[in-house]
C-alpha cells in the first residue's frame, strides 16, 4: 500500500470494518458459546428433574404394585401355606398382573423362598441385600441381580405379622434408557461399575462399550479443533452401599457446536460481504475524492507549463474540493493575468506602452524575412533633459507620451511597429519599398513630430534627430540593424542634422572607436609608453625667457599608428574614460615638474582638462594628493579649460574652479575668442589667464582685423587682471607684433612644436645658449 490518500482511506475503512467484524465475531462467539453452555446446563437440570420424576413414578408404580401384591389376601394365604409350588405360581401370576420383571419371596432370614423366574440364578442367601433394603423401607433401590439391573422395592408380607418379604422390581434395560432419552433429550446410561454392568440409550455402541469412559472422552471434530462431544452429569441412584449405581446424563453437544458454527459461518459470510462492501465503497469514496485531486494535479502541472486553460471534469465533488477547484481556477486566472502583466512589462515600456528594446529585437528577428523590406527610423528627442530639469519629469513624461502617440499613429498607418529604445529614443519600423518613399515618409514623420505639443497646459515645441537604416540593404540581423540605426541617430545628433541616413561603414567606424577606446583604457592602465606627454614651450615675451609649457598628450598605439588627440580625447569624453585619462595626465605632468625642479629647470605647466573632470568630485582631492606626493607647489600648475567646457554646468563649474584657485592652482581659459563666452560671463569666471585662439594668431601679421581683435583682447585681458597667452605663433612677425601688443606669453611652432620632456630640456639648453 502506498502513502497516497486513496489507499489510506481504503485502509482505514477496511480496517474499521475488519475491527468491527472481528469484535462482533468474538462477542457473538463468546455470547453464543455461553448461551449454548447455559442451555446445556439448563437441559441437564431439566433432565435431572425429568429423570427423577420418571423414576419416582416408576417407583410409585412399583410400590403400588408391590403393595397390592403383598396386601392381597390370597397371596398372603398362599404364602402362609408355605407351599412352594403354590407360592411360585402366585408370584408368577402376580408378576404378570403388575407387569413386574422380578418378584422374589424371601423368608424373614433372607433365604429365597420362591421366585417368578428361574430361582437357581440367584444367590441362596439374600439377607445382606434384604437388610440393606429394609433400611430404605418403602423406597426403591437399584440393584444388580443375576447380571441385570433392577429397580426394586422390598415389602413385608404381613398376616398381619411379617411372615416373609417380597422383592418386586422392574428391569432397567436399554429400553428404559431410551425412553428416558426421549423424555430428556439426552443419552442416558445406567452404570454399575462394581457389578460390571452398564446399559445405555446410545444406539450405535462401540465394542467394549463403557458409558463413562465413552461419554467423557468422546470428541467431535469441529472447525478449529477436537471438542468433547458430550456434557456429562453423573448422578448417584439409590442403591446398595457396596454396589453404587450411577445414572449418567450425557448431553450431546454436537448440535450446539453445529449451531454455533452455523452462526459463525453466517457471521463470517456477512463480515466478508461487509468488508467487500467497505472496500468498494471506500475505494469509490477515495476515487471520488482523489479524482478531483489528481485532476487538480494535472491542472497544476499545466499551470507550471504556462497553460492556464482551466477545465475541470468530474462528478459533483465535496464542498472542500469545490472550494479548492474554484481556488485553483482563481489562482490560474490571477497567475495568468499577472504573468501577462509581467510579460507585458518585460516587453513593453510602462510609460508609453511601446515595446522595449529587447522586445523590439525579438520582434525584429521574427519579422525579418527574405522577401520583406523595412525602414528603421530611430528618433531622438533633442533636449528632453532640459525639459525634465526645467519643467519637471511629469512634463517630460507627458512629452514622451505625446511623441509616442504621434509615432504610433504614423507607424500604425504604415503597418509598422514601434518601440521605445532609450530614455528619449524611439524606433519605428515600417515596411517600405522605395528609397524615395522612405525619404518622403521620414520627412513627413519629422514634420508631424515637430508640430507643437500641448502638455499640462503648456505648449511645447520639440526638435528631433532621426537615424534611418534600410533592411535588408544595410543589415540583415536584428541587432546589427538596431546598432546601425542608433549609430545613425547618434550621427544625426553629433552632426547637428535632424536626419541621418546610415552610410555603409559607419558601423565599422563605430566599432573601430570601440576598439580604440578599449586600447586606450588598456594604455592608461599599463602606462607602458603608448601614451606620453609632450610639452610646448611658452615664451615670456617681456623677459624673453621660457618659463611655461603646455602639456599635451600623445598616443602612439601598439601597432605604431598615431591617434589624433582630438579623436581619442573626444572618445574618452564620450565614454567617461576622460576622468582616468586626466588623472594619468595630472600625475605624469606633476611628476615631470618635480623632476625638472630637481634639475633646476623651473617651468610652469598647463594641463588641459575637460568639463567632466571639473565636474568629477574626486578631481580636486586627487590633484591635491598628487601635488603633495611630488612636493610640487600648486602655483606652478595651470588648469586649461575651453570656453565650452566652462559653460556647461556653469554654477557648479565656477564653484569647482574657485576651489582649485583656492589651493593656488592657476586657471586658464583656452581657445578664447571662438566660443560663446560673453564678456559678461568672462568677468565672472575665476581665471588667471586668457589664451587667445590660434585662429587669430596664425595670420596675425597679414590680417588687420586679427590685429585689432588680438590687441583689444590683450588689453581687455590685462584690464580684467588676466595674463594673456597667444598660441599658434609661427612667424617672427607675429611674435614681434605680439611683443608690441604687450602680450604676456607666446606659444607656437615658431618657437617649438610640442616636445617630449627630454627633447624639451635639450631644446631649452639650445635656446638659452642662442639667446
Amino acid at each position: 500500500m502506498g502513502n497516497n490518500l486513496r489507499s489510506r482511506i481504503t485502509t482505514l475503512c477496511v480496517g474499521l470494518v475488519l475491527l468491527t467484524t472481528l469484535l462482533s465475531l468474538v462477542s457473538f462467539w463468546w455470547s453464543t458459546s455461553k448461551f449454548q453452555a447455559e442451555k446445556v446446563q439448563q437441559n441437564i437440570t431439566v433432565a435431572q428433574s425429568v429423570y427423577k420424576q420418571y423414576l419416582k413414578s416408576k417407583e410409585s408404580l412399583l410400590l403400588t404394585a408391590a403393595k397390592v401384591l403383598t396386601a392381597d389376601f390370597g397371596f398372603k394365604q398362599a404364602v402362609a401355606t408355605r407351599d412352594a409350588a403354590t407360592i411360585s405360581s402366585v408370584l408368577y401370576n402376580h408378576s404378570q398382573r403388575i407387569n413386574a420383571d422380578l418378584m422374589l419371596l424371601l423368608d424373614l432370614s433372607g433365604r429365597l423362598v420362591s421366585a417368578n423366574v428361574n430361582a437357581q440364578n440367584f444367590a441362596d442367601n439374600l439377607q445382606p441385600l434384604m437388610d440393606e433394603l429394609l433400611n430404605n423401607a418403602e423406597q426403591s433401590s437399584f440393584v444388580v441381580l443375576n447380571n441385570q439391573l433392577y429397580q426394586v422395592i422390598l415389602l413385608p408380607v404381613k398376616t398381619p405379622r411379617t411372615i416373609a418379604y417380597s422383592l418386586v422390581g422392574f428391569k432397567i434395560t436399554s429400553a428404559v434408557a431410551t425412553e428416558l432419552k426421549s423424555l430428556t433429550g439426552m443419552e442416558v446410561s445406567f452404570v454399575a461399575q462394581l457389578d460390571d454392568f452398564a446399559t445405555s440409550s446410545l444406539v450405535s455402541q462401540p465394542d467394549n462399550f463403557q458409558p463413562i469412559t465413552y461419554f467423557t472422552n468422546k470428541t467431535t471434530a469441529r472447525f478449529f479443533a477436537e471438542y468433547l462431544a458430550y456434557e456429562n452429569e453423573q448422578i448417584a441412584l439409590p442403591s446398595l452401599q457396596s454396589h453404587p449405581i450411577n445414572l449418567l446424563l450425557s448431553a450431546d453437544l454436537t448440535s450446539s457446536y453445529r449451531d454455533i458454527e452455523q452462526l459463525l459461518l453466517t457471521l463470517i459470510t456477512l463480515a466478508v460481504l461487509t468488508m467487500l462492501f467497505g472496500v468498494i465503497t471506500s475505494s469509490l469514496l477515495a476515487n471520488n475524492l482523489t479524482s478531483g485531486l489528481s485532476q487538480l494535479v494535472v491542472i497544476a502541472r499545466q499551470f507550471a507549463k504556462g497553460d492556464y486553460r482551466f477545465k475541470f471534469e468530474g462528478k459533483k465533488q465535496s464542498s472542500e474540493i469545490e472550494t479548492l477547484v474554484s481556488a485553483f481556477n482563481n489562482m490560474g486566472n490571477d497567475i495568468n493575468k499577472r504573468e501577462q502583466q509581467i510579460s507585458f512589462q518585460a516587453h513593453h515600456d510602462t510609460l508609453t506602452g511601446f515595446y522595449n528594446r529587447s522586445a523590439m529585437l525579438d520582434l525584429l528577428a521574427k519579422r525579418l524575412t527574405n522577401d520583406a523590406r523595412y525602414t528603421l527610423v530611430a528618433i531622438d528627442i533633442k533636449g528632453l533633459r532640459h525639459i525634465n530639469d526645467k519643467l519637471g519629469p511629469q512634463v517630460g513624461d507627458g512629452c514622451l507620451i505625446a511623441v509616442a502617440n504621434r509615432i504610433r499613429q504614423f507607424s500604425d498607418e504604415l503597418g509598422g511597429f514601434h518601440a521605445r529604445i532609450g530614455g528619449d529614443e524611439f524606433l519605428t519600423v515600417y515596411p517600405c519599398a522605395e528609397v524615395e518613399q522612405v525619404k518622403c515618409a521620414v520627412a513627413d514623420l519629422l514634420k508631424q513630430l515637430q508640430l507643437a505639443y500641448k502638455v499640462k497646459n503648456l505648449k511645447i515645441s520639440l526638435r528631433f534627430n532621426a537615424g534611418i537604416v534600410q533592411y535588408p540593404e544595410q543589415g540583415t540581423k536584428a541587432d546589427d540593424l538596431m546598432r546601425r540605426v542608433l549609430i545613425a541617430v547618434d550621427a544625426a545628433t553629433t552632426s547637428q542634422q535632424s536626419l541621418h541616413y546610415y552610410q555603409d561603414g559607419e558601423d565599422e567606424a563605430h566599432l573601430e572607436r570601440l576598439i580604440m577606446l578599449d586600447e586606450l583604457k588598456q594604455a592608461i592602465d599599463d602606462d607602458n609608453g603608448q601614451l606620453f606627454m609632450t610639452y610646448q614651450p611658452k615664451l615670456n615675451i617681456k623677459s624673453q625667457k621660457i618659463d611655461k609649457v603646455e602639456s599635451l598628450i600623445r598616443w602612439q598605439r601598439q601597432d605604431g599608428r598615431w591617434v589624433s588627440p582630438e579623436v581619442f580625447i573626444d572618445l574618452a569624453e564620450q565614454s567617461g574614460l576622460i576622468v582616468e585619462l586626466t588623472a594619468w595626465v595630472v600625475e605624469t605632468v606633476i611628476a615631470q615638474i618635480a623632476d625638472w625642479s630637481k634639475k633646476d629647470i623651473h617651468l610652469q605647466a598647463a594641463i588641459n582638462v575637460s568639463a567632466q573632470d571639473i565636474a568629477h568630485s574626486g578631481f580636486h582631492a586627487s590633484l591635491v594628493a598628487t601635488l603633495n606626493k611630488y612636493q610640487v607647489n600648486p602655483s606652478v600648475v595651470t588648469i586649461e579649460l575651453t570656453e565650452r567646457d566652462m559653460i556647461e554646468n556653469e554654477a557648479q563649474g565656477i564653484k569647482a574652479l574657485q576651489d582649485l584657485k583656492g589651493i593656488g592652482v592657476k586657471i586658464s581659459l583656452d581657445d578664447y575668442g571662438v566660443g560663446q563666452t560673453s564678456l559678461g560671463r568672462l568677468k565672472m569666471l575665476p581665471i588667471d589667464e586668457l589664451k587667445l585662439d590660434k585662429c587669430f594668431i596664425l595670420t596675425l601679421h597679414e590680417s588687420q582685423k586679427d590685429q585689432y581683435i588680438v590687441r583689444s583682447s590683450i588689453t581687455l585681458g590685462h584690464q580684467l587682471g588676466f595674463s594673456v597667452v597667444a598660441e599658434g605663433v609661427e612667424t617672427a612677425e607675429s611674435l614681434s607684433m605680439l611683443h608690441e601688443m604687450q602680450c604676456d606669453h607666446a606659444q607656437g611652432y615658431y618657437l617649438s612644436r610640442p616636445l617630449k620632456a627630454q627633447q624639451l630640456e635639450q631644446w631649452l639648453e639650445e635656446y638659452q645658449r642662442v639667446h
Binding site: E59, T64, K158, T159, P160
Partner: protein
C-alpha cells in the same frame, strides 16, 4: 393417643387379675419372676406357662373367651385361653371386620361381619394364634392357647408370681415381640423358690400402618 394408652393399661390389668385367679386357687409356694429383655428392660405381657407332664386333659367346661374389636383394635390384644376353649369375636365397631389367622394352631377366617359372629371358634390346638383383619392392616392381636392350667402374664414391672409345690418344675416363656419364631417358647427350670430373672430377646415392633403414608407420597399427596 393418650386415650388409647390408658385403654391398653386397663386391659392388661384385667389380664393380670385373670392370671392371678388361676394361680392363687391351686398352689401354695409362690416364686417371683422378673422378665426382662436383652437390654435389661422389664417386659410386661410376657406369658409364662408351667409344664405338667403328662399334660392335663382338655377340660370341656371352659367358659367362652371374648376377643372384642373396639376402635379398629383387638381387645384385648393378648388373650390367653386353654386348649379346647371357645373364643367369641364380637365386633363392637360400627364397621365390618374380616378377622383371620394363618397360624398353624388355628387358621380361620371370619369373613366380613358386624356385631356377633354366628358362633364362637374353638381353639383346640395349643400355640400362638396371630389375629389380623384383612381390611384393617393395623389390627393385630394374639391368642395364646395354653395346654397348662398354670399360665401367668407379667405385669407392668415385668413381674410374675408363680405358685408351685413341686421342684424342679419346667416352665416356658413367650412374648409377642420375641425375636425367635413366634411359635417358639423358651423353656426354663424352676428349682427353688428363689426369685428368677428371665431374659427374652425382643425386637422393636415395626411401626404399623405406614403403607398409607407411602401411598400418599406415591400419589403425590
Amino acid at each position: 393417643m393418650l386415650e388409647r394408652a390408658s385403654q391398653l393399661i386397663a386391659k392388661r390389668r384385667f389380664l393380670l387379675i385373670v392370671g392371678a385367679l388361676f394361680s392363687v386357687s391351686a398352689f401354695g409356694n409362690s416364686i417371683n419372676l422378673v422378665i426382662k429383655d436383652q437390654h435389661g428392660q422389664v417386659l410386661p405381657n410376657a406369658v409364662v406357662e408351667i409344664k405338667h407332664l403328662p399334660s392335663s386333659k382338655v377340660q370341656s367346661n371352659l367358659p367362652t373367651a371374648v376377643m372384642d374389636q373396639v376402635d379398629k383394635q383387638f381387645s384385648p390384644q393378648l388373650l390367653i385361653v386353654r386348649q379346647g376353649q371357645y373364643v367369641n369375636f364380637p365386633n363392637s365397631d360400627d364397621i365390618r371386620h374380616h378377622v383371620y389367622s394363618f397360624s398353624k394352631a388355628k387358621p380361620f377366617q371370619l369373613k366380613l361381619y358386624s356385631g356377633q359372629p354366628e358362633e364362637p371358634i374353638k381353639f383346640d390346638n395349643q400355640g400362638v394364634v396371630v389375629l389380623g383383619c384383612n381390611i384393617h392392616d393395623s389390627m393385630v392381636g394374639y391368642i395364646y392357647v395354653a395346654n397348662s392350667d398354670q399360665v401367668y402374664t407379667s405385669d407392668e414391672q415385668g413381674r410374675i408370681e408363680l405358685q408351685t409345690d413341686t421342684f424342679p418344675v419346667q416352665a416356658s416363656v413367650w412374648h409377642s415381640l420375641q425375636t425367635a419364631p413366634l411359635d417358639n417358647k423358651k423353656l426354663f427350670d424352676i428349682e427353688s423358690t428363689n426369685p428368677l430373672s428371665i431374659t427374652i430377646n425382643t425386637s422393636t415392633p415395626a411401626p404399623r400402618n405406614t403403607f398409607g403414608s407411602k401411598f400418599r407420597e406415591g400419589n403425590g399427596q
